[in-house]
Point group: D2
Chain length 167, copies 4
């Protein structure tokens, strides 16, 4: 789970020394990640890596990972890349993302990597790349550009009473 060689492409200094635990705890609260079968496989200051193994349940009509699922994991990789640089008492919101699908996401494993390109006090801009592994090859299948918002003073914790929704 811990990356062998933490890299910080932008040379960012996290304001919260415990950012990695904070990211992992938040990721763990995202029920959708467990549901899809996604794992957080790397986190550093300003970057994040998520992996998603192939499952038939995640495919579109041609048997590839569906575009929206590719979007879901790279949106999250970008979001946690940004969140790693935010203060301990903040939470993160995706304002928007734009995803170009470069090749069919046809393979055994998706690897999404998000990186901060501009950390601002309120807005954080990230980029994401998704590769798919097929028969030992790694194919670049999607590129994302994303805007995040820092919600200061609103720590990322589950809202009380949420569990009752829909019941």
């Amino acid at each position: 789970m811990t990356p062998a060689t933490p890299r910080s492409p932008g040379g960012f200094q996290p304001s919260d020394p415990d950012y990695a635990e904070r990211v992992r705890a938040s990721f763990g609260r995202q029920k959708v990640m467990a549901f899809l079968g996604a794992e957080l496989t790397g986190i550093g200051p300003g970057w994040c890596e998520i992996r998603l193994p192939y499952r038939e349940e995640l495919t579109q009509q041609h048997g590839y990972f569906q575009a929206g699922i590719v979007g879901a994991i790279v949106d999250n990789a970008g979001g946690y890349a940004g969140y790693s640089l935010m203060p301990a008492d903040a939470s993160v919101l995706t304002v928007e993302y734009k995803l170009n699908l470069l090749a069919p996401a046809d393979g055994e494993l998706l690897l999404a990597r998000g990186e901060v390109i501009k950390p601002g006090r309120t807005l954080v801009i990230t980029r994401g790349e998704v590769h798919v592994f097929r028969d030992g090859r790694m194919i670049h299948c999607a590129s994302m550009q994303q805007t995040l918002m820092t919600l200061h003073g609103r720590p990322d914790r589950p809202a009380a009473g949420r569990k009752e929704k829909g019941s």
Copy 2:
């Protein structure tokens, strides 16, 4: 399942009279839609509507529908809006989409609607809107702009031998 009043906002004329069955069959082959619990609830010439009821498994850390899941259903609504106007022997590919998240997707049901804004021979441009229903109110939670590509002469059928992947 069939919408009470088929509407065609752009006044488009489908080239394939059996477009609705073709869209439904393709949607049915998208295993990910059944996995998420999404239903195709409306299809017309140049538009498509998909609904997704709340499930705890689809939520992010605050208990809302995760942004990527919102993206997955509206990408599909836009894709089938475009596919409805394509010839019977074509398949559809998402080139890119851009999603703005306008409000938390916090509620009991997501409703995504895609509409063609420009049907070209090769490229089709669509727009999508997502609303979330909460306590009897309908909240506009996301807007999408999308580019699709028509793959002529490649009917949308499951690829032979796909079932074995991953095994």
Copy 3:
């Protein structure tokens, strides 16, 4: 200059009753608009319209309005749509925009219209459409989706000493 029938598609209520003068004054300070030959031809609560007559100087290699020029006027139409709803002591910043070019911008006049789709305290989301007039026809040539930021407490005034830049 004043539109015959002010429309407010979203039914927005401006917080500053003098929004129209404020928008016009800011537009007048954008030297690039005069340079391109663009005119502000309509402003209302949450919408703005800009026109740009054909000039050979604005064309790309095929003689059409260049895509970036189309982007420049619709970015501005969206920006002032958002600015119309901002408080009197704020200024507006484009965070990002996404532009789909739907048809060649080939004609005598470009008409860009921006509309607010979601006014937030900090972020404002807009949409823009560009039409080109050719031989009496009006052709939809571009669609934009845009994110703006409100800079509270920083009125839109020329920065002191700016005039000397480059000298």
Copy 4:
């Protein structure tokens, strides 16, 4: 004008050995580039660089380069990055671009660089970065993601009779 060290980040092989002259000739036909004062300062297989010196005529209300002008040059840098890899008898069209503005474009010179990230037969995906030079510093002010279309069999030449338009 010729870059000192031609770089090809993607290691692309141009199909047309005379791509550089072809790009320069097309750039020269874009009247808008001369009008803005932009220069093509570097071209290689899959990349292109355009510079735009500060002029008061290109500024928005705060005295910075206007966002749309930033978009115009980076759209072009991406477009010619893609065009460099296209066959000699093709022309290039921008399908869409998405631009994030990262910092005010406040300075003496804009430098836009476009790079191909995925060259397809019909669609080419590029990325662009814009830096602004201010007081000896180089500031990253915008990031773009773009989709281009190759129009095969339609060489990039001025359309006959275009000069008369508007007269």
